[in-house]
């Protein structure tokens, strides 16, 4: 990857920038790069929150809570759960689309999750290196400003493709309620040409949810682990936008 940092490159050159305060305690200057622009960070957290809401509510739509007592007119449990699901789904769709459009305007890193440079040999070599690093076969990790090649691959397949799939099937299922004259059906009704029985679409939507659950687990683990092991900020980068290299 072009943003791999070679030892001794310019990012590290200010390592030696050292100041001292009055009591003689030394401040350490650490190389910092601005990676994630504000729209990327906002989209990240909005999407993360929507996905969390979607997973919980989606699970309860498929396997509803125990029956509530009383008059039907006094309760609206399923209604609220479904409302939350549909609302979060539309928020996710809007912010996912925004994030995609930002890839055309934003910096180099904002494009990373939308493609895999499959034709580049060097890329796959570095993917292999990252796999070896995670398999404890490499002693030192390579440093990357943005996503490392393995995480780029994982983000593209595990997040971008799956979320796109969930948005498409989600809107198709939503169109069942809004009716065949709705824009949802006009835009996404073709899903039912692939699976004529919408029960199958429900099943795939469920499987997609579990795939995202797995993605989230690996995503969070890898972020925390890299934060510690690769000596660079990962988690806080998604808040401040800056990546700091600690040695």
């Amino acid at each position: 990857m072009m943003d791999a940092i070679a030892p001794g490159s310019d990012v590290r050159s200010d390592l030696s920038a050292i100041a001292a305060d009055a009591s003689g305690e030394r401040a350490v200057g650490r190389p910092t790069v601005y990676v994630y622009e504000a729209p990327v960070r906002i989209c990240h957290w909005v999407n993360a929150f929507s996905i969390l809401v979607l997973m919980v509510t989606g699970y309860f739509i498929g396997s509803p809570l125990p029956t509530v007592a009383g008059e039907a007119s006094d309760n609206f449990v399923m209604g609220y759960i479904r409302f939350a699901h549909f609302a979060a789904g539309q928020v996710l769709a809007v912010f996912f689309l925004t994030r995609f459009l930002w890839a055309f305007v934003g910096n180099h890193h904002s494009r990373q999750i939308f493609y895999i440079p499959v034709h580049r040999k060097q890329f796959w070599k570095e993917v292999l290196h990252e796999i070896r690093w995670y398999a404890f076969l490499e002693r030192k990790p390579k440093m990357y400003v943005g996503h490392n090649p393995l995480s780029q691959t994982a983000m593209f397949t595990g997040f971008t493709l799956f979320v796109a799939f969930m948005i498409v099937t989600g809107f198709a299922l939503y169109s069942e309620g809004t009716g065949i004259d709705s824009w949802q059906h006009k835009l996404f009704g073709w899903v039912f040409a692939i699976w004529p029985n919408s029960q199958d679409v429900h099943t795939w939507h469920h499987l997609g949810m579990w795939a995202l659950v797995m993605f989230v687990m690996v995503h969070i683990y890898a972020a925390v682990r890299e934060d510690i092991m690769s000596r660079q900020s990962i988690v806080s980068s998604m808040i401040s936008g800056e990546r700091q290299f600690r040695d």
Partner: protein, 363 residues
């Protein structure tokens, strides 16, 4: 049931209505519809000259439940549909003619009403072994179907068999039973799925075609929009209990007695497009959910292959396992979780080891 062309006028006369009354009817109709002074004679002219639509009704691999349903239509009465609205020239199950006499009608209709008759197909053709699993009149049914489809104006695919394949096409489908639209690709096909379809939906489709002289508007999957554009769930009278979160948990519980939503009992209403919850059955008496049983989704594609009728989530049969999406998903997530935990543990151990190494180096 001859193949002679009969107009609506001749049917009306045959039912004992005088020409005088006929003209009164035409004038009254024109007046009540607010049409111009010439309309009365034009209506009379149309009824006198417009031939009834000839219909050929064929039976492939099926159980005749579609016919059984059809003959129970109340609005319109099936006698009106069969004897007055259409000219049912051939239906081997209920026609008087038999043998060569009956088969001769097919050829006659093809010649006489080329491109004008409607081919109503109940059941579907099996394609395996050259179609020998369904022999009709000494020939494989698929040949008869193709022959009659060639000169038809349009095809009505009655029931889940003709529309999707139904039970004979369920896995492993040994006879390779195939829905009509996969065999005939060059004719407009109206799918009227259901096992069987609702009687009034069947006669409703026939009435539409004979009244307006055109096919009803179809949805993406070829079903008439007027009957199949909404799910059972959308018009279910138990829907308020669904929205309230009130479900039947067991067949004999209090909720079942109170008529709560059957969602958890595997009701397929939320994924089934049909008119049961609006038109209902047997002249509007009831429909499955009203009788306390969930919808089994009989008008949907492959409804036999979606696991139990009593499960909400579809069973997935792959790699010799049979679990639903949530069970598979949870197991896979569990494996990933365990892998993450193990990886984290190894990482921690490695890190400690390398720290000690570094410390040794530094000292």
């Amino acid at each position: 049931m001859g193949a002679a062309t009969e107009t609506f006028y001749s049917v009306i006369r045959r039912q004992g209505i005088t020409r005088r009354s006929f003209h009164k009817f035409c004038s009254l109709t024109a007046t009540s519809l607010g049409l111009g002074p010439l309309a009365a004679s034009r209506i009379a002219n149309a009824l006198e000259t417009k031939p009834r639509v000839p219909v050929i009704w064929m039976h492939g691999l099926e159980c005749t439940c579609c016919s059984e349903s059809f003959i129970r239509s109340a609005h319109p009465l099936v006698k009106d549909a069969v004897l007055s609205m259409i000219s049912l020239d051939y239906d081997d199950t209920i026609m008087a003619a038999a043998g060569h006499q009956a088969e001769a009608i097919l050829g006659e209709t093809r010649v006489k009403h080329k491109g004008q008759y409607i081919l109503a197909v109940e059941g579907n053709p099996p394609l395996n072994e050259g179609g020998m699993f369904c022999i009709d009149g000494g020939k494989p049914f698929v040949e008869k179907l193709k022959m009659m489809a060639e000169d038809a104006m349009a095809i009505i695919a009655w029931g889940a068999c003709a529309s999707w394949g139904c039970v004979q096409a369920a896995k492993p489908n040994p006879t390779q039973a195939t829905p009509i639209d996969k065999v005939i690709t060059n004719k407009p096909i109206i799918k009227v799925p259901g096992c069987p379809p609702i009687a009034e939906v069947m006669t409703g489709v026939v009435t539409f075609i004979t009244t307006f002289g055109k096919l009803p508007e179809l949805d993406r999957q070829g079903r008439p929009k007027m009957f199949y554009s909404q799910r059972i769930h959308d018009k279910c009278y138990r829907r308020p209990h669904f929205d309230a979160g009130q479900f039947v948990e067991q067949w004999d519980d209090e909720a079942a007695r109170k008529g709560y939503c059957l969602y958890k009992m595997g009701c397929k209403g939320p994924t089934t497009y049909n008119a049961c919850s609006t038109v209902r059955w047997n002249g509007g008496v009831s429909f499955p959910i009203q009788s306390g049983h969930g919808c089994i989704g009989c008008s949907e594609d492959g409804f036999w292959d979606k696991g139990s009728f009593y499960d909400r989530l579809t069973n997935i049969k792959q790699f010799g396992i049979e679990k639903n999406a949530d069970q598979i998903g949870m197991a896979a997530a569990g494996v990933v979780g365990a892998a993450v935990a193990a990886h984290a543990a190894v990482t921690a151990v490695k890190r400690l080891a390398s720290k000690r190494e570094d410390a040794d180096h530094n000292s």
